[in-house]
Amino acid sequence: MATLTLDRVSKIYGHGGKDALKAVNDVNMAIDDGEIIGLLGSSGCGKTSTLRMIAGFEGVTEGDVKIGDRVVNRLSPAQRNVAMAFEGYALYPPLTIRDNIAFGFSRDRLKKAEVDARVKRIADLLEINDILERYPPTISGGQQQRASLARALVRNADLYLLDEPMGQLEPRLRAILRARIKEWIIERRLTTIIVTHDQTEALALCDRIAVMEAGVLLQLATPHELKDRPANLFVASFIGEPPMNVFKARVERDGGVARLIAGDEAGHDAFGIELPLSGAGHALGNRHEVHLGIRPHLVAIGGGGALRGQVVSNQWLGDQSHIGIDLGGATLIAVTDGALDVPAGSEAPLTLPLESIHLFDAESGVALMHGLEPAAPGVRAAA
């Protein structure tokens, strides 16, 4: 096992002409030995390109990729000692599933009994024991995916790269295997990078998650940090289900208080909340416009709420309720753990707790405040 460092890594496709495409832009990452990292982002965000550069299938246009203390930019995939599970499975069609899995350590010159034992262990884990003697074209996509995952996990490598490792599995099996794979990885302290677009998977499996968009690494942080202290508006609305409520808001200063007046989609004033300037002043600076965000789970409905909204929808999902509320023209989603007896059309008092709101710069989307704390630690020290 080893650490992995990406030092200002960029990937540019094309020959630098006007059709050149910067797929990965100046990405820095320092990954610890035994850490599980998720690469999360929508399609085409550069996560697979990043993975392929680490594996060595794509050249690195700029920057360095280091595994342990070795810069591996110029090494062939064979020399990097990484294991990889491919999104398209990439099993060898002429070999049985057993041979496909055993193939990964064919160079280690193990005794046959040892090979069989290893294959059996991983096959038990991924529940593919019954198809070990079958050939790849004769089994289902989900089975091929598990075989491909087994082939990668069974190896002794410095680094494990898993590209959408569970996309083809049915939800129930996915949940079971997720837990087992995590246990396998942690037990062996495997340094692992998992590319996925499924945030549930990333949140469940990974120690830290790298959110990428348009080739740029937006934030590399623990799942908690991503939820509580998103670095910018994109991360804030990308992570979390249902997504964060975000409103454009006008800032009005009045004595010791900053009043944020959120608008609806057409830009008309919808509702307002007040922040003490003592806490918010430095983060707000002299901005007149911000984005105001709050997670649906943290909207407090009922009691002596300061705001009154009209319920437009109330969906009970079996373990939680999604409640759509019209607040002076702007629509807000609230999530409650239990069922709530507020039918559509009724009035509901609600509160947006100040410690739960997030403020983002109106133009750049950079986070300014989380709760009443400035987003950038340096700003707080200055205050």
Binding site: A55, G56, F57, S76, P77, A78, R80, N81, V82, A83, M84, F86, E87, G88, Y89, A90, L91, Y92, P93, P94, F103, G104, S106, R107, P136, P137, G141, Q144, S148, R151, R155
Partner: protein, 279 residues
């Protein structure tokens, strides 16, 4: 469709395509007299005289005894076709892989130029080539002919095999490479075996094209290097056209390609469906 109608239609199609070959096969067991009688008849006394003449190399005609180089021609055909296809595979398969996998500067243009060899009218190229070959001593040599035969076999192999390589997921190769194997061993152990049905199909097709070639050897080779296609001209003799021997020669020259095609048939079917490669 009703099975009976199907059988009738298939028989009709079969007869239509096989009739000339059957007729030639029958002719090869007849003398010139029975072939040329009017009206023609399916009833005749079979003779092996055409075959013995071809194999012994002595043709007795009304005008005397004629020496035939037919067995030499057959051997020439085999040497030329086999070596041309072998050389084309050696050059074309790695090139096809390069064109399929790597996008380098001018790759499409080079691939197209290689294909364009098939556009040029052969005679236009051959006459000047003949002069050059005489100058550099390649005229009437196997090497010279095999070189020119690349015009037939190389583009065919290159373009067919390229398609097969493109159909193999690059990730299968990548998986082998991360498992600790070099680029070259990946090419030999993964890419070629997976494309093998396609390579076999391309090799067979180009072998047939090379075997059937007439004009290259007609101009560039003399009697002792000529393939059967050119050698068959010898049957047009002073005392008339030897239809019986021509038919026997045709049958003998079909046999090697027929045997090869029957042997390679399963590769061809596999190659054309390519089910094994797509996951």
């Amino acid at each position: 469709m009703h099975p009976a109608i199907r059988v009738v239609l298939l028989t009709l199609i079969g007869l239509f395509f096989l009739f000339p070959i059957v007729w030639v096969f029958l002719m090869s067991f007849q003398t010139n007299e029975t072939i040329l009688r009017i009206p023609p008849s399916l009833v005749f006394e079979p003779t092996l005289q055409n075959y013995t003449a071809l194999i012994s190399g002595r043709l007795e005609t009304g005008a005397g005894v004629l020496e035939l180089a037919f067995m030499q021609n057959l051997w020439n055909s085999f040497v030329l076709s086999f070596c041309s296809v072998a050389l084309s595979l050696l050059l074309g398969v790695p090139a096809a892989y390069a064109f399929a996998r790597f996008k380098f500067f001018g790759s499409e243009d080079i691939a197209f130029t290689l294909l364009s060899f098939r556009f040029a009218p052969a005679l236009l190229v051959l006459l000047p080539l003949n002069l050059y070959f005489q100058d550099i001593g390649l005229n009437d040599t196997y090497i010279g002919l095999i070189w020119v035969y690349q015009l037939i076999t190389l583009p065919l192999i290159l373009w067919i095999v390229r398609g097969y390589f493109e159909d193999i997921s690059p990730d299968i190769e990548n998986a082998y490479r991360v498992d600790g194997h070099s680029w070259f061993s990946t090419f030999m152990k993964i890419s070629i075996p997976l494309a093998l049905p396609g390579i076999a199909a391309a090799a067979l097709l180009s072998f047939i094209f090379a075997w059937n070639n007439f004009v290259f050897a007609l101009i560039l080779a003399s009697a002792d290097k000529q393939p059967v296609t050119v050698g068959a001209l010898a049957f047009v003799t002073a005392s008339g056209i030897q239809y019986g021997q021509i038919a026997a020669a045709v049958v003998l020259s079909i046999l090697p390609t027929l045997a090869l095609a029957l042997y390679a048939q399963r590769y061809l079917v596999e190659g054309l469906s390519l089910g094994a490669v797509k996951g």
